[in-house]
């Protein structure tokens, strides 16, 4: 065993969570190694120049949930952190009209009144009520979940804290929280609004990345998760990082290295080495071994528990829980290089509507019908599209006058009935392009290049099982103290020294760095206790 191969901590996976975890451990003085299978760090948060001069956010495309603590504690501004505010949301409608919301409350009210005078005062009520639910949830978000099955005094304290926290809230807030968490966004929105396009816009995010429709129980919960961002001082606000989410993970990589972490690329970990129930290192596919008493998996739960280690070393209950854990990827991406900005007929030559998201979700019914296909193993004929022409925000993304357009596509279920994604890849691209064309006539003539990313591609390239963007569905039975499995939601595993810090742990997926930050606290706490 050579000294050069020995570290205090090894992190498997250089996605954003692996980088954040590595940065925290290195900052605490641990000799830290981050191993990434690909030629670049970032995992599902990368930016690639797939067409000369055009930068594509291959997978994830916007930033919101990134915890403010991570930015501050890792001094990311010093290493190039540079968010860009997205001031607008544009929702085209099937009749050629549109809903254009922006940063000004009063202007938004006027815009909503065009669609429904009755809904004019509903938005304030809705935002206030949801804001209060978010406020109730934040303290749960930023803490290690209590182990409700634990027997130690510390566990009892954690549970008492949770009950106390929930118990101190107003009944209406708790009730709204439960209605959102367990119910459908469609029911919840019906209590406030009548405008179809407004409901479509508000419901769209409630299905992101998860195999639910807006009328399904559980969609309320996804919508809450998507609203948890406190980015840039605004609740639920989204932004675009300079250079895309890949620009952001490059900043994280620089920060991790500045704190002393070493990053090795093209280092595919085959498995974790264990000895007497204790992790002692990892072996790469090429046979290289690295040693450390702390090994952290930044991969999803299926990989963490069934690929990197031998299942026989784990309790049967845990193995079963991981087998049951739902991935069910339902999202795809289609990214375009465009010769010019598309025109929206009702707005003539205007382009100010493109400074944020353009959401093809004109009504709840449109979304629910898109979901129908997924239930039966097929992709939507008219998919929900969450798009953004990012070059309007960051001109470095495309040559002058030209644009890149990122389209997040739902639904595209990983498991297709009667075909496979290698056969359907191009058809999916055509479906998406046709849908955009429907709202933006002439769109297809602008397309210079197209990249289609199916759930299978997500799995193949990043390793996210079944292409699930969150490393495991946002369904209530796999959140909080159940993520990824009962009793194992505190970043530890049954193998001593082997930890988990990926999106499959609390609070879950998205570019937020929270799982990795909480995991690092747990790792350092355990290490201090041992010393």
């Amino acid at each position: 065993m050579t000294e050069t191969n020995r570290y205090d901590a090894i992190i498997v996976g250089g996605g954003h969570n692996g980088l954040v975890n590595g940065a925290y451990l290195a900052k605490a003085g641990l000799k830290t190694l981050i191993l990434e299978q690909r030629h670049l760090v970032g995992g599902a948060a990368i930016t690639e120049e797939l067409h000369p001069g055009f930068s594509f956010t291959t997978f994830s495309y916007a930033l919101s949930l990134i915890r403010p603590e991570v930015i501050r504690e890792l001094e990311l501004t010093k290493y190039g952190f540079n968010p860009i505010y997205m001031p607008t949301s544009f929702s085209p409608m099937e009749n050629g009209d549109y809903l254009l919301l922006g940063p000004d409350r009063d202007e938004n009210i006027r815009e909503i009144m065009r669609h429904s005078p009755r809904d004019a005062d509903a938005m304030d009520r809705y935002e206030h009520d949801v804001g209060r639910v978010l406020q109730l949830m934040y303290p749960l978000f930023d803490r290690v979940p209590p182990n409700i099955f634990g027997k130690t005094p510390e566990d009892a304290q954690d549970v008492a804290w949770l009950l106390g926290h929930l118990g101190s809230a107003e009944p209406k807030v708790v009730h709204d929280a439960v209605r959102l968490i367990t119910g459908s966004i469609s029911d919840f929105l019906d209590d406030y609004f009548e405008s179809e396009v407004l409901k479509g816009y508000l419901a769209a995010s409630s299905t992101t990345g998860t195999k639910v429709g807006p009328m399904s129980a559980g969609s309320g919960f996804v919508s809450l998760m998507m609203a948890m961002g406190e980015h840039d001082g605004h609740l639920g606000s989204w932004s675009f990082h300079k250079g895309g989410n890949g620009g952001f993970t490059q900043v994280l990589g620089t920060a991790a290295q500045a704190f002393g972490a070493e990053i090795k690329l093209e280092a595919h970990v085959d498995h974790v080495i264990t000895k007497d129930g204790q992790a002692t290192g990892v072996v790469l596919q090429d046979g290289t071994e690295y040693y450390a008493d702390i090994v952290v998996s930044a991969l999803d739960p299926r990989q963490t528990f069934t690929k990197l280690v031998d299942q026989r070393e784990l309790p049967g209950d845990l193995v079963e829980a991981i087998d049951r854990f739902q991935f069910n990827g339902t999202s795809a991406k289609v990214n375009f290089a465009l010769d010019a900005a598309p025109k929206y007929p009702a707005l003539g030559d205007r382009t100010d509507q493109y400074r944020g998201f353009v959401s093809i979700a004109p009504s709840i019914e449109y979304l629910e019908r898109a979901y129908d296909a997924a239930k039966y193993g097929w992709y939507s004929e008219r998919p929900y599209l969450d798009t953004c022409m990012q070059s309007f925000l960051d001109p470095d993304m495309a040559p002058p006058g030209k644009h890149v357009m990122s389209c997040f596509v739902q639904y595209a279920p990983y498991h297709l009935k009667g075909s496979d994604w290698d056969t359907e890849r191009n058809n999916l691209g055509d479906t998406v392009q046709r849908t955009i064309e429907e709202f933006f006539p002439g769109f297809s003539d602008l397309v210079l290049h197209r990249e289609v990313v199916t759930p299978l591609d997500i799995e193949r390239v990043v390793g996210l099982s079944e292409g699930n963007i969150y490393a495991g569905d946002f369904l209530l039975p796999q959140m909080y103290f159940f993520r990824p499995a009962p009793e194992w939601s505190q970043y530890r595993t049954p193998i001593e020294g082997y930890y988990q810090c990926g999106s499959g742990t609390h609070p879950g997926g998205c570019v937020m760095g929270a799982p990795a930050r909480l995991a690092s606290q747990q790792i350092l706490k355990d290490r201090a206790a041992k010393a």
Partner: protein, 401 residues
């Protein structure tokens, strides 16, 4: 009646908010876009332009011009070669700061001084027997600031001679047939340029700049965005950080260069060949350690700030625009520590930052001070760390490519 700058006809078309403020007697856009932050990010990520025409401008020429400025300005004008500019201050005999400005040197005997306040009679009164002439050329020129990482590309398109212009350098150039002066200066702490344009040509030059800026998504920015940018850049603003000592009613409203963080401008103060106004008093202040304050940066503990509000049952009002008032600071014993003259949410740092004056014993970087805060209509405080300024200073600000 309020005046309009030579750019106004075009700016009025661009100002979709119709929000204007009055600056030095001119209409000045508060914000062109409903989100001032969008304008702010335009500068930090691409390029924005700002109408700086209301600044006062004085042409200072004559055989003794350098000697004249050497005796007036606290920063050594002799170190400013032709083709260069200097940020500078001038003081009263008591060693208190009167005002600040930027001085451009065109040749051995030809200078231009810009200032936020009118100064003609003051400047003329200092001439004495020297051979100097001073002319107010404020209205003769419009000033256009073009700021942000892409500003070089935009301006180089029109005036390639700026490509290798160093920080605080300036050149003469021709844009749309107009003789302009382009300097690598600005008030945003970013890569940026300012173009001084004969008033009659202002619109033609602006149109050319806007055309060149199109592929770079250049946008106009107003006073709100500028204020966030300049605080992040740690740049003091007269009327906010300090006011002219000439108009102070008592000692609480006049400050020395060292107290305002201008000590770095006084390089070479020990050189007896340049007796400038206020020098003996400043030397005395330094010899006796009489400075009452130090100017520092403040960076609020974001986590503590959030907790303060969450625990009070509120959502933290993080994204607040610059405060219009002074914010009081306390030490760990609750004693007065000083006050922040500027205080804002910084989108780059994602926390509140401030430009503050603190007791010298609290000025060490890393010291904790407590910032006044109102929560549920009650005064409380939130911890902040004393930091260096600027808060945000990208390499591109001063780099050559």
């Amino acid at each position: 009646m309020v005046s309009t700058t030579p750019f106004h006809p075009r700016l009025a078309e661009l100002n979709t908010t119709q929000l204007w403020t009055h600056w030095a007697g001119y209409l000045s856009a508060t914000q062109y876009d409903i989100a001032a932050k969008h304008e702010y990010f335009g500068v930090r990520n691409a390029v924005g332009f700002f109408d700086a025409s209301p600044l006062y401008k004085y042409e200072i020429t004559g055989r003794d011009a350098e000697r004249y400025l050497g005796g007036l300005l606290a920063r050594d004008i002799r170190t400013c070669r032709p083709g260069r500019a200097q940020y500078t201050i001038w003081c009263d005999d008591g060693g208190f700061v009167l005002e600040d400005g930027v001085v451009f040197r065109h040749s051995a005997n030809d200078f231009l001084l810009t200032a936020a306040e009118p100064n003609l009679s003051f400047l003329q009164n200092q001439i004495g027997s020297l051979e100097v002439s001073i002319e107010d050329v404020s209205a003769a020129y419009a000033m256009l600031a073009v700021q942000g990482p892409r500003s070089r590309a935009v301006i180089a398109e029109l005036a390639p001679e700026i490509t290798d212009l160093g920080y605080f350098g300036h050149v003469q150039a021709k844009i749309s047939g107009s003789e302009v002066t382009i300097s690598r200066t600005g008030f945003t702490g970013d890569l940026g340029y300012e173009i001084r344009i004969p008033a009659d040509d202002a619109l033609a030059v602006l149109d050319a700049v806007m055309e060149a800026g199109k592929p770079h998504q250049m946008r106009p920015f107003g006073d709100h965005a500028l204020n966030i940018l300049r605080i992040e850049a740690g740049l003091p603003l007269i009327g906010v950080e300090f006011s002219s000592s000439r108009y102070a009613f008592n000692e609480h409203d006049r400050f020395t260069p060292d107290e305002l963080g201008f000590g770095w401008l006084l390089k070479g103060i020990d050189d007896d060949t340049r007796p400038f106004a206020g020098r003996p008093a400043i030397l005395n202040e330094r010899a006796t350690g009489a400075s009452r304050w130090k100017t520092v940066g403040l960076s609020v503990d974001g986590h503590a700030f959030e907790q303060l509000f969450y625990e009070a049952g509120l959502i933290p009002p993080k994204d607040e625009p610059p405060a219009d008032w002074e914010t009081m600071l306390y030490d760990e014993h609750g004693e007065r520590a000083g006050y922040a003259t500027s205080y804002t949410y910084s989108p780059m740092l994602q926390t509140q930052v401030g430009i503050a004056r603190v007791r010298p014993d609290l000025a060490t970087v890393g010291t904790t001070v407590h910032v006044e805060q109102t929560v549920n209509h009650v005064y409380t405080t939130v911890p902040a760390t004393v930091t260096r300024m600027p808060f945000f200073t990208p390499e591109r600000k001063t780099s050559m490519s």
